[in-house]
Amino acid sequence: MSSSAHTAVATPGVPRLAQHFASLEVQNHAARLGMWLFLSTEILLFAGLFVCYGCYRYLFPEAFAAASRHLDLTMGTVNTVVLITSSLTAALAVHYAKEGKSNLVALMFGLTIAMACAFLVIKGFEYSHKFEEGALPGPYYRMQAVQLPGVPLYFTIYFLATGLHAFHVIIGMSVLVWLMIKAIRERNFGPNNYTAVELGSMYWHLVDLVWIFLFPLLYLI
Amino acid sequence: MSNLADKILFLPERASTFAEKVDNLHYFVVGVTMVSSIAVGLAALFMFFRYRRRTPNQATEYVVPNLPTEFLFVSVPLVFFLLWFAIGFRDFVFYTTPPKDTYDVYVMGKQWMWKFAYPEGPNGVNVLTVPANRPVRLLITSRDVLHSFYVPAFRIKMDALPGRYTQAWFEATKPGTYQVLCTEYCGLSHSKMLAEVVVLSPEDFEEWLKDQKRGRLAGRQDALADTSLVPPVARMAEQGQKLAGSQGCFKCHTMDGAQHIGPTFLGMYDRMEKLEDGKTIRVDEAYITQSMMDPGAHIVSGYKNVMPTFQGKLQGAETAAIVEFIKSLRTANVREGASQGPAYEPIQ
């Protein structure tokens, strides 16, 4: 009965080689290439939203500028710093994985996850503030402070973009939790076995990168 | 010769200056397509025969294309494709650039009819009257969803967008009646959203205009996106349509001339109706209002006395709005006689 069968018992520090790959090197190369391709799909997913943003910003410049000023810049900046730092800890996790220090890998990922939680909590505060103010998408918009044509569109894009991003933050967190558990349980990472950590970290960097584009577009300009 | 081509290709008659250009390029493209398809086909068939397999494991020569051959294969089609693009784009620019002094008409598509309004007066539902040999510009918008204004005989088409104006222009070359079809799927009766362009000779058109102005037609219809410019009467017509929907009038009265339980609203206003008791009556504001309040008083001959009364259900202003709505459904088709079947006959 066939499956992507493993070779013999897993040896510590060496990942299992799937049967259909010619060598471990090929397997790692394939995994990395696959992840890069997947990341490119994520970029294109957000690209559609950026196009919508660009189009409507061009059509409603005052409304977008006014609405943008009503976002909480402090919370947004804190979130940015938090996320960038979490990218740092994720990168450090890869570094420690290459050195075989699985404990530190788990710690770094733990920090990353904690910071991601902080990001989501701050985002939650921002959202609830918007619900109170009435800065909601489309027909639900009732914020008296900014009443220009096109403002509800701004908030539609705001909620769609940040919501989709938050969804990806959660996915990223789940991946990192899994990696953290793997680090604690198997203690297996080493110079020949860090691909999983690398891929998870790559995904997290993408999540961070999307925010780095979202933040200026929504909060700064 | 081109008549034969038109017959084979099922091309409709050419009735605009743009149509001439389009069809000339069309003949060019179709001709080359036919020739090249046949050439490729014949070459292939010849080679299937000439190079048929003679032994089961027959070896073959390793043929490599030389650069001049590949270059030829690429450049010949490229030359044709770019030539067609150039001619086509030149004609497209002609189509999208109306000349300076066009005769403007506002076109509004809505589910599922076309309304036309002229700046200085008459309007029509589903019939657009224009002069021949004069550039006419259509300013097209939609009331609800996407529609598309297509006149095959003129070879013109332009989408009708809600919230925006698009434009198309044409110069009709001969008097006649040409069909308009909606070419962007817009819901249930998309395929019934037909209209006509009636092209009159310049003198006949002047006559028609004078006739319309003499008539009791109201001002510009609500074909404008900026509703603050719309005269109050037309806004009442909008309100009236909403009421007619919510009060259930459309259960028995159609808007498009089709026969139903009650007389159709299309062309109802100012119609001479024959009543059950043999008298004739002109359908004016008074009669319509009376029909809403006391429907059994004067019933059009041939129809049953099943209309409920709306006394107490409609305010004065609301009945007036419904009257304005019915007035807005006037057609330019002049029809004598009482309600009997569709007011609009499609063109063959």
Binding site: S2, A30 | V29, Y51, T60, W84
Partner: protein, 558 residues
Amino acid sequence: MNPSSSTTAEGVLPAHDAHDAHHDHPSYLVDGTTIKSWLLTVDHKRIALMYLVWILLFFLVGGIFAMAIRIEMLTPGPTIMDAMTYNRTFTLHGMIMIFLFMIPAIPAVFGNFVLPLMLGAKDVAFPRLNLASLYIYLAGAFLALWGMLNGGLDTGWTFYTPYSTHTTTTVAPVLFGAFIIGFSSIATGLNFIVTIHTMRAPGITWFKIPLFGWALYATSCIQVLATPVIGLLLVIVSGEQLFHFGLFDPARGGDPVLFQHLFWFYSHPAVYIMVLPAFGVMSEIVATYSRKNIFGYRAVAYSSLGIAFVGFFVWGHHMFVSGQSTFDAGIFGVLTMLVGIFTAIKVFNWVGTVYKGAVEFRTPFAYFCGFLFFTVFGGMTGIAVATTSLDVHWHDTYFVVAHFHFIMVGATIMAFLAALHYWFPKMFGKTYHEGWGLVSAALIILGFNATFIPQFLLGNYGMPRRYFEYPERFQALNVASTAGSSLLAFGFIIIAIYLTYSLAYGRASGQNPWRSKGYEWLMASPPPTHNFVGPQPTYPEEPHFYVDPKKAEVPDVV
């Protein structure tokens, strides 16, 4: 029949015939006979077969709706259904055919089955992802079908706003189902790209990859890059229909033309997802049945990449009369002409392959003939509609319908049927009756012409698309088209019958009934579970190298 030729150019793998393989190394078909061994397989060949079953089933459903449309079009007024049902029917036909059939068909079935064989690999790069893509596809398909049959969509497969956000028919499940299917498409594309990059046997350099591989590579690039955009759009429109945020609704400041841009940014490259694999299949078939190297291998390979690349920049040719600017129309128009050139290159190279070849006229080659005519004619009419001034008349009429059916059915489905017949022995180790194959190919080609040529004329005449009732003057051509479609349907039915019969009672085919030198024929037919046993095969020559080794030296590969 001698399963392999006697020259050593076949490759080092000794010729196991089906009999041997059956004993020591069972074929993938019988290696594991429980339901679980099929449902949880990671063998690319079994996954391909499961895809085949479902894809054919969905094709049948889409085809039934097509017949319903044609029967309804027999008379100018209502024939067998009312307007709302008809609007749903053509929407269903489009949705099913495009998302459930055309996009996955050749890649998910034949790509999955044949690509690893062609590359000398044991499987694709991510076999479990492959299995997941099948189940994702089925999940999305069932959700979409459920939605369509429960108050289903009537917007047309293009679901333009604002109608799609205002219609009272069921939008969200159908669009969300299509969104889910998108993930399957991305997964397949990703898998193929990584497979081609990392799992080629030693000796298979980039320019020895069979042309079907190049075609799949280009297709996969498009799948990976374009699908996310429509995915986002599908989610947004589903949300719009439920919550009416107004992103594309002019009443709230939205722009319906923005929707069209986002929609066609995917949907134009999508048509290349549908046609590039077909081109790849045909490159293989023409080489095998002409028993000759493909003429201009590199040109064909590069043209696949060229189509994929330029195809991303031409979407606006669907929007010439949408209110788009004249300048944009010009840019999109001229770029579309360039895409046509790449297809012309392929056509010349296929015909050039037959030149000085040794043609054996078998069923797949019969499909190639139909395919060649339909590609040239359909492609040229594509160039014609891309000509901006002509498209003003033809946009959204039956001319466009005929054009895309010429390519989608005339090119892609011909290629699908050709692939089915060509790789039937590879997949099942059996042959089918050649006479029935040729008869049904003829029926399909004739029926197809009879169905869709009248539709070109209908478009010229001025009949718009998606018309439930139509003015009487269009009736004669519609009747002609319906008559042709029944011939077409009949052809498909015959194929279904004899191929099913051959599955059970067909004669054993041997490893290489076509005496082809394509790489996939170096392995047993049907292959064992891991494609080959023993050492990795080597590939001293390029695929489809039919030169007599005793002859003089061969010029350098171009």
